[in-house]
Each structure stands twice: as structure tokens, then as C-alpha cells.
Amino acid sequence: MIHVTNLNKSFSGVKALSDINLHIERGEMVALIGSSGSGKSTLMRHICGLTAGDRESGQIMVNGCLIQEQGRINRDIRELRTHIGVIFQQFNLVGRLSVARNVCLGALSRTPFLKGLFGNFAKEDLELTCKALERVGIADKAWQRTSTLSGGQQQRAAIARALVQRAEVMLADEPIASLDPESARVVMSTLQELNRTDGITVVVTLHQVDYAIQYCPRTVALKKGHIVYDGPTANLTRAMLKTLYGSESDDLFGRKEEAPTIVQGAAA
């Protein structure tokens, strides 16, 4: 479903991704872990064609379509994005529009130009919007202004938008990083449910391993732009992460083993 071959990316000389090869089959739910700056968000942005790789890169294929090749994004990318739902850390909804309208925007690409311009969406798409809102459990918020929703509810609206897109792949970039634990659980369960019942391929970046262990059968671990582990999440032990990440591994677990000691002299 997703095939990344020899992807390279550097930002002003600094390698952010080096020689990434990643193959994900249809219907998988994969966690992409790594501490901040490890390149996981960058990888995501490449897969959905928001960022172009370096010239000396291979291809990225999603669902049999070429997204980019040797640093050139496919010219029909706008059409291709329709099939890829993207969930962002900051939700990326339009705050002043109603929740329903934000979700319905998922249907923009298949709405004729003038109808889309005036918000004149097809009846099926309105029904689809209604169903999507029910599925993620925020149907009662449909007419509310999006900015008035809590973070968890906004993230579920973003997932509903991807559903209206009829996306076959969902790329969730740190979907729970700015949510409280309860909302995070609801969002992850929603993604899991979509993966199991609709067979949607889900790739989710996380910086806490706990959630990967709970929800994703397969984990890909990144460190400084390299893939350092790719395999069943069950095989990931704390000791193994320690060898992979060294002192950084504490970061990857939500719960610290010991409370931080109070810095001496700070109270003086």
C-alpha cells in the first residue's frame, strides 16, 4: 500500500532522513516512533506529498500511485491527496467554520468547482458527513463553531474529514501529542476501529511507546533519520529501546521510573 524506497531529505545541509526504505501492506496499523527531531513527521509529510525529498531519492508510491520520485512531486498530487487522509497534531481545521462544514470539506475534491465554491455539496456527501460525525462520536457538535471544541473532539472531527474523503490510507502525524490521556485513548481507539472494520491502512507517529504497544501490531522506530527497528511491536522491550536510544529512551515512555530529583539550590 505504501512503498518508500531510498528516501533522502536534508534541510540546509543537515540530513533529516537518510536512505529510508519502508513497505506497508494494505490494512496494516503501523506506529512510527522516535523522539522529537528523529524525522518521523518529515517522513509523513513526504508520504502525503506535502514535502519533496532530495534529488538523490527513490520513489514513494501510495496505493499504486506515484507520489514523488527523485525529489519531484507528481503533478497530479492534488488528485492523489484525495485518497490519503492526513491527521495533524494541531488538527488543522478551520476554526471559524462549523464542525459539519469542516468535515464536509473532505468531499471538496469530487465536488464540481462552482458548487464547491458556494458550499453546495452533493446529497450523498452530506449523508456521508453525518455518518462520519456519528462514527467518531461528535454528531451532537455538528453545528458548533469548530474552535469551541476540545482538542480531542477537534481531532475526531479531523478523522471524520478523512473519512468523508473516502481515504484508504490515513497518516496520523502525532495525533495525540497535544491531548490529555483520556482524549488520546478515544482518538487512538477511533483509528483502531476504522482500521479493523473498514480495512483502512493507518500509519501513526507517536513519541510514546505505550500507545504503540496498546494499539499497533507493527512498529517502525526512527533515530536521527535512520530506521533502527522495523517489526512486531511485541518484540520491543524496554531494554531493547535502551540499546537503540540510550538515554533518550526515557522520553519514549510516558511514565518515568523515578521522580525527577529537585535541582539543588533552585529554591534558594
Binding site: 488543522n92 478551520v94 476554526g95 465554491l117 534558594a268
Partner: protein, 269 residues
């Protein structure tokens, strides 16, 4: 042991100033003073005349009172024309400023589009509406339509700049969200950008309408219709009592519309 950063009795909210900073501050004051003196000469400032000719000014002010409201029907009729000029001048400008504002925003279009559009808008803004009014009077003849055209051109220049500044201050994340659904460029603008800038744009448009009500009262002086034309005739014939009546009406209407537009602006934001 006492840490060195602890507040001492001479604690000041400002960090200690270095010699160079002191010098810079002094230079700034010298430049400001020089600028003021230079401009005083150029503009032939002569406050003494205000006292010396106080008698003349007193007589002139006296001539204004009591105001003569004999022809108030004419004044009200012309004032309404002025308002109508302001309304159409503003509406046309808002319509044109929407695309031009987006086309002159750095984050929306490449430089080879936004730079030429910006320069064009600069030109439209740099020339006062009075000058445009004089030109349009020559082009389309005496009357309010020349006033509408003058306000239109000048206001388009101003609003396009204000609109584009609002566009440049938007958040990119909602736009990226819309883009991720596979939307086209225009759809990105309509659903990602416009909802973000809409309240600000309304507010700017109303503010310009206020300003245009004021401007429309003077474009008449060069023949572009409305109350300005009446005012000009009265001043030229030294009929200060009637002038006073017209000025009173202008003050009343402009204040009224300032208040209304202020209320509306508070409502949209």
C-alpha cells in the same frame, strides 16, 4: 552566601546602560530635534499671527453665527448624494480589493505576481482622492459619478494593502488541512484563508466606509457632486452663516456614521 543576582537596594527595572547605548539614545534625540527645527522653517510656522490677527479671526468666527438653515432641504438632499457616493465608492473598492489583496500577499502568490500588484496598489493609494476626482471630472464630466470613481480607485489601493496584510498573518495549518483533502488552489483560499480573514476584512471595509463618508464631502469641492459642491459655492461667496449650517450637517452625519460603523465592527469581531 548571598547570590550575586539578588535585588540590591539600588535595584532598577532597566538593565545598566552601556556607553554606546547612551550615545545612541542621545543621537536619536538630536535627530528628532533637528527634524522638528528643519520642518518649522519649511512650513513657515508663525504662531505670532494667531495673536496679532486675533481680531480678524474673531470677526470671521462671528460671521459664522447664527448659522443660516434657510436652505436645509437642499443641504440634506446633497448630503444624501454624498452618502450615496461613499456607499458605491466603498462597495466597488471592496469587490476589487478581495482578489487584489490576495494577489499582493506574499504567502499566496509568487513574487513576480505580488510585487507588480503591490506597486499598482501603491500608486492607487499614493494619489489623494481629490486628485483622482479632478481627473475623473475631466473624463466623465461634473457630478457624483466622478466622485464614486475617485473614491473607488483610492480605496481599492488602501483596502488591498490592508486585506493582504490580514492574509499574510493567517495560520497555515488550516490551509494545509484543506490541501490534504485534495482541494484545488482556489478551494484552499475559499475554505482555508477566507474564513480566517473575514472578520478583519469586514472591519477594515467598514472603517474605510467611515473614512469615505468624510472624503466624499470634499471631493465635491472639485466638482464631483454632493455637499462639497454646495460648500465650495458658499465659501467662495463669503456666505459664512450658510457655510456654518452646512458644516454642522456634515459634522452630524459623519459622527452618526462613525458611531454606526463602530457598532457594526464590534459585532463582527
Amino acid at each position: 552566601m548571598q547570590p550575586q543576582t539578588a535585588p540590591s537596594p539600588q535595584f532598577s527595572l532597566r538593565p545598566p546602560m552601556e556607553a554606546r547605548e547612551k550615545f545612541n539614545r542621545l543621537t536619536t534625540w538630536v535627530i528628532v530635534a533637528a527634524l522638528l527645527i528643519w520642518s518649522w522653517r519649511g512650513s513657515e510656522m508663525n504662531p505670532m499671527t494667531l495673536f496679532r490677527d486675533a481680531g480678524n479671526i474673531g470677526t470671521l468666527l462671528g460671521d459664522f453665527f447664527p448659522p443660516n438653515f434657510m436652505d436645509w432641504r437642499l443641504y440634506v438632499k446633497e448630503m444624501l448624494v454624498t452618502l450615496q457616493v461613499a456607499i458605491w465608492g466603498t462597495v466597488l473598492a471592496v469587490i476589487c480589493a478581495v482578489p487584489l489583496g490576495i494577489l499582493s500577499a506574499e504567502n499566496m502568490v509568487p513574487w513576480y505576481i505580488n510585487q507588480p500588484v503591490r506597486r499598482l496598489m501603491d500608486a492607487a493609494r499614493a494619489i489623494n482622492e481629490m486628485v483622482f476626482a479632478m481627473l475623473f471630472v475631466v473624463a466623465v464630466g461634473l457630478g457624483p459619478f466622478a466622485g464614486v470613481l475617485a473614491l473607488w480607485v483610492h480605496t481599492t489601493g488602501t483596502l488591498a494593502k490592508l486585506f493582504s496584510e490580514a492574509v499574510e498573518a493567517i495560520e497555515v495549518s488550516p490551509v494545509e488541512g484543506v490541501r490534504s483533502t485534495g482541494a484545488s488552489y482556489v478551494e484552499e483560499v475559499v475554505y482555508g484563508v477566507l474564513p480566517q480573514v473575514f472578520p478583519l476584512w469586514i472591519s477594515y471595509s467598514l472603517y474605510r466606509f467611515e473614512a469615505n463618508v468624510r472624503s466624499a464631502t470634499v471631493v465635491g469641492m472639485v466638482g464631483a457632486g454632493g455637499i462639497g459642491m454646495v460648500l465650495w459655492e458658499l465659501i467662495r461667496s463669503f456666505d459664512f452663516q450658510r457655510t456654518c449650517a452646512v458644516m454642522a450637517i456634515i459634522v452630524l452625519v459623519v459622527t452618526l456614521f462613525d458611531l454606526i460603523s463602530q457598532k457594526l465592527r464590534k459585532m463582527v469581531i
